[in-house]
Point group: none
DNA sequence: TAACCTTTAATACCAGGTGCCAATAATGGT
DNA sequence: ACCATTATTGGCACCTGGTATTAAAGGTTA
């Protein structure tokens, strides 16, 4: 034993199941070349539930996410969210977001991050983008982490419209700026 | 037997599983007061798969909707393209593009179609969105086919900037309108 | 009465596991 | 060289939530 193989295998196993959670133990034995018992011990140690439990968990998540916050409908990861006030999200530019020749992000991805943050920050059942005025200040490039900050300037609970300003930065540099007008269904509600 | 109970039961069964797809046959027998065999015959007739299959289907749906979230290269199919003049693209709103509650398309997908068309219509090596002024005129809904039409208003081969106007329609109705300023690398090039 | 439909029952079988125990490796420490 | 520990494998019983099939009991109806 090289003291390592087990941990390496654990990492591989986690990675495999991360990429494809639909694998049975039997299929894992083929990929990792160990017995099915070992796979099961590994899952035990790593606290990875059996296939059926995994599927059930996924089904449950998707089922009650229908009635929960639209957080995972957001492009980028929400780092901070103060409803009707401000929000921050992180979005890393990866290969599928850029023009292959130049390595520069396509504008609509940067926009998507800002737009979905602007919608998420509005504390309302239904929030839709009505219009926007946007500027791409400098290109965002492959591998860069974009931090978008959204500020609600006029929440307009009565008027049915809210104004949200979004600034996206890579490090210290601003790459994008946008003013969004968001339709909101009514006054605040929910939770 | 009252000749009806069966159909009534079928309706009830469908309704129960619609409200809570996580019910086992055994739990259904309690609610419907018939034997488990009857439940299974009912599911057969109604073509309702077993619990595990239902969970798997839900898991799969939620799984590849997560995977398809990242927007791809060009959004929509280019139907017509006259470089430096005009272009038309078609984009059909499908389940992964809408808010699940309302069935309304997220703004950034509609934007993405317009933006990628505006970039595609510019006849240059490198074309990037510099800024845009956009309006979402009415929401686009699940299943609707969006036709975006882009017109180059000022190609600005010297100035390094081009102005492109995009209108998106569903049938006769306009759903989106945008004015894009696109950076272009130099004069025209390419074929 | 026979023919039929609906419901229930009984049995064999399956996938994808858990839980447990025992038998081997393989590895280190001394 | 020996022992203890850890890692891996095997085997078996059992569980859940089913499928598939065959059979039987009950009411309905022509």
């Amino acid at each position: 034993m090289e003291r390592l193989p087990k941990r390496q295998r654990h990492q591989q196993l986690s990675k495999l199941l991360d990429e494809n959670p639909f694998l049975t133990d039997r299929e894992l034995t083929r990929q990792l070349k160990v017995s099915i018992q070992t796979i099961r011990l590994d899952r035990l140690e790593l606290a990875i539930p059996e296939l059926r439990e995994r599927l059930k968990l996924m089904a449950e998540r998707s089922y009650d996410s229908v009635r929960s916050l639209p957080l995972h409908e957001v492009i980028g990861d929400i780092l901070d969210l103060q409803l009707d006030k401000s929000g921050i999200s992180l979005f890393e530019i990866s290969a599928e977001h850029v023009f292959s020749r130049s390595g520069i992000a396509r504008g609509h991805h940067v926009f998507a991050q800002a737009n979905s943050l602007a919608v998420a920050v509005i504390n309302d059942e239904i929030a839709l983008t009505a219009s926007a005025d946007i500027r791409f200040i400098r290109p965002a490039r492959l591998g860069e982490k974009c931090i978008a900050k959204a500020y609600v300037r006029a929440s307009g609970e009565q008027k049915g419209k809210a104004k949200v300003e979004v600034f996206t930065y890579v490090g210290e540099e601003m790459v994008f700026q946008g003013n969004f007008i968001i339709y909101r269904s009514a006054g605040e509600s929910k939770t």
